[in-house]
């Protein structure tokens, strides 16, 4: 099904107007000038579907589920179909050797041009034996596929930062894509799972301008990860007023007050949930009454407990008792040393007699 994208869209009953509207929305979401919407539409409509190879590594398929299911009836889903997705284990009909053949053909035919999407972390422990596909380790596969890729998209927190597999004690030695590949442009789209429109937005940007969007210091597109959940949260006024829900079923929770004290990680989490929302703009975690887990930040799993307020220490009295005992021990020991010194001085004291003075 090769050919310009617009032909395919027309065949699927998508009008040019709908497509333009979609591009304009994407452009405004990414804070691009209004003219960029048109440019995007033109570029995307004319473009031949770029080859995309999606490699799943140590992952839960949540990222794929998120992309395919939650937005499947919308135009995002269609655009996603329009990409020539040449290898995606979960979605492709082929299996076994056929699937492997598809992968190798796509890599050979589009060498240097294809977009590589990776979800899941890469285990380095036991020579990568923790996760293998077709008898080869993820590390091997990634290195091979990365060689011919124009750019790499690390989908989800596992591929971006190591995610849950990397959580302490990291039994498989999991690392992120950027820990392994150093010589290719990599864009991180973290989230557990990431927001579908962020994915399509990045792809649209890539198709239009031929390069990846502007990234922050953690390799995330600034357009979507530029601000914190807290800064864009509709419950923010309650935070500023000091109105907090104390439990999940108290009056504050029913009134929709700030969830900071219930462990919301919104103030330290950069993502677009508060603006784009989930499930086609239906709702998002904070709107449904649960604090942000901080899933788009590195090592969110080990960030001190989901239900502990950010200002609360994780477990400050862990070594307190032991420290007090050691302190008391040291104090007593020093006391004895001081007393011994004193008595030694006393014992060494020589009494001066009158006879001594007359000498």
């Amino acid at each position: 099904m090769q050919g310009p994208l617009i032909d395919t869209l027309v065949r699927q009953g998508v009008s040019r107007r709908t497509f333009l509207k979609y591009c304009a929305t994407l452009a405004s979401m990414m804070a691009l000038p209004p003219t960029a919407g048109l440019a995007m539409a033109e570029a995307m409509a004319a473009s031949r579907r770029p080859s995309v190879i999606w490699l799943p590594f140590q992952e839960c398929t949540g990222c794929t589920e998120s992309i395919t299911r939650s937005h499947s009836p919308t135009i995002e889903g269609m655009i996603f179909d329009m990409i020539s997705l040449d290898y995606q284990e979960t979605l492709m009909a082929a299996a076994g050797f056929q699937a492997e053949e598809a992968l190798h053909n796509a890599m050979k035919d589009n060498y240097g041009k294809y977009l590589l999407i990776v979800d899941g972390s890469i285990p380095l422990g036991v020579d990568g034996a923790y996760s293998c596909i077709a008898g080869r380790s993820n590390l091997d596969l990634l290195k091979e596929a990365a060689k011919g890729a124009a750019a790499i998209v690390a989908m989800g927190s596992c591929a971006s930062f190591g995610g849950i597999p990397k959580a302490n004690p990291n039994p498989t030695g999991a690392v992120s894509v950027s820990d392994v590949i150093k010589d290719k442009p990599i864009v991180n789209i973290p989230g557990c799972p990431p927001i579908p429109v962020v994915m399509t937005g990045v792809l649209a940007h890539y198709l239009t301008f031929g390069k990846l969007p502007e990234l922050d210091d953690k390799g995330r597109p600034k357009a979507f990860y530029g601000e914190t959940i807290h800064d864009r949260c509709y419950r923010r006024p309650f935070y500023d007023q000091g109105k907090f829900a104390k439990t999940f079923d108290d009056e504050g929770a029913r009134n929709g007050w700030c969830l900071f004290e219930l462990g919301c990680k919104g103030p330290v989490t950069h993502n677009a949930c508060a603006t784009t929302k989930w499930n086609g703009g239906t709702s998002w975690p904070v709107e449904s009454g649960h604090g942000c887990l901080g899933c788009s930040e590195p090592d969110f799993w080990d960030a001190g407990g989901f239900y502990k307020a950010l200002s609360m220490p994780a477990d400050p009295l862990k070594i307190a008792a032991a420290a007090a005992v050691v302190g008391a021990g040291a104090g007593v020991a020093v006391s004895f040393a001081n007393r011994a010194k004193k008595s030694a001085a006393k014992a060494a004291h020589e009494t001066t007699t009158l006879a001594d003075l007359e000498k």
């Binding site: 953690k218 914190t228 807290h230 000091g242 004290e261 103030p267 330290v268 901080g294 930040e297 590195p298 090592d299 969110f300 080990d302 960030a303 001190g304 307020a309 950010l310 200002s311 609360m312 220490p313 994780a314 477990d315 400050p316 009295l317 862990k318 070594i319 307190a320 032991a322 420290a323 007090a324 050691v326 302190g327 008391a328 040291a330 104090g331 007593v332 020093v334 006391s335 001081n338 007393r339």
Partner: protein, 219 residues
């Protein structure tokens, strides 16, 4: 290390470590100081009204006659920043939450605008006291590294906390992490520096007052 990792560290292992060192140091120093003992004074005690340990504990909180005029900065500045610190530490709602999570004790917080004002006044007072120390040749001469150092570790938690609340200079996450880190430095330094006066102040006043009372001198 990114800012969330820094925050996680200062809230986790960093704080464990700091609280541990603090407790260790405090218990150690208290044992050491109070076990030193003093020689018994064999002279007959003299009695003068107002000369006793307890009197001195309170009297030393007030400037002796004439001293307020001679060195107003030390007294007024000193009072201001000590009271300000108490207001900030014990009156700010997030701090009370912290104390509650540690000990179960809690009390109503002060309005955050008032605490904010207290923070600004505290910092201003501390700066004035510092400039006075630099400005007055005698004070400067008497100052050692410890004096400058303890001033800094006391000032930084107030500054970083205030900046975190006000969203100044650095993102909230980083500033909050730096605030907690600065408190941890204070916790580690406190037992082993002159800041230990927070624990020994009343004991030593009482002792001095008692000795002077024995000699019949109200000080």
């Amino acid at each position: 290390m990114n800012e969330l990792q820094l925050l996680t560290w200062v809230r986790g292992p960093g704080l464990d470590f700091a609280v541990g060192i603090f407790l260790l140091g405090v218990v150690w120093r208290l044992f050491e100081i109070y076990s030193l003992g003093r020689k018994k004074d064999l002279s007959a005690p003299r009695h003068t009204s107002g000369a006793s340990g307890w009197h001195t504990v309170f009297r030393r909180s007030l400037p002796p006659p004439g001293m307020l005029k001679r060195s107003p900065v030390s007294y007024i500045g000193g009072y201001l920043f000590h009271i300000g610190l108490a207001v900030i530490v014990f009156g700010f709602a997030p701090h009370i939450l912290l104390i509650k999570s540690l000990s179960g004790l809690s009390w109503p917080g002060l309005p955050s605008q008032f605490v904010d004002l207290a923070a600004v006044v505290t910092m201003a007072a501390m700066l004035v006291v510092l400039f006075d120390r630099i400005n007055k040749p005698v004070k400067r001469f008497l100052s050692t590294f410890e004096d400058w150092f303890t001033w800094t570790v006391t000032f930084l938690p107030v500054l970083t906390g205030w900046m975190a609340v006000q969203h100044l200079l650095l993102p909230y996450t980083t500033m909050l992490a730096l605030h907690i880190l600065s408190v941890e430095i204070l916790l580690v330094v406190l037992p082993f520096s002159k800041l230990f006066h927070a624990f020994t102040l009343f004991g030593s006043r009482w002792y001095n007052g008692r000795v002077n009372g024995h000699k019949g001198v109200p000080v």
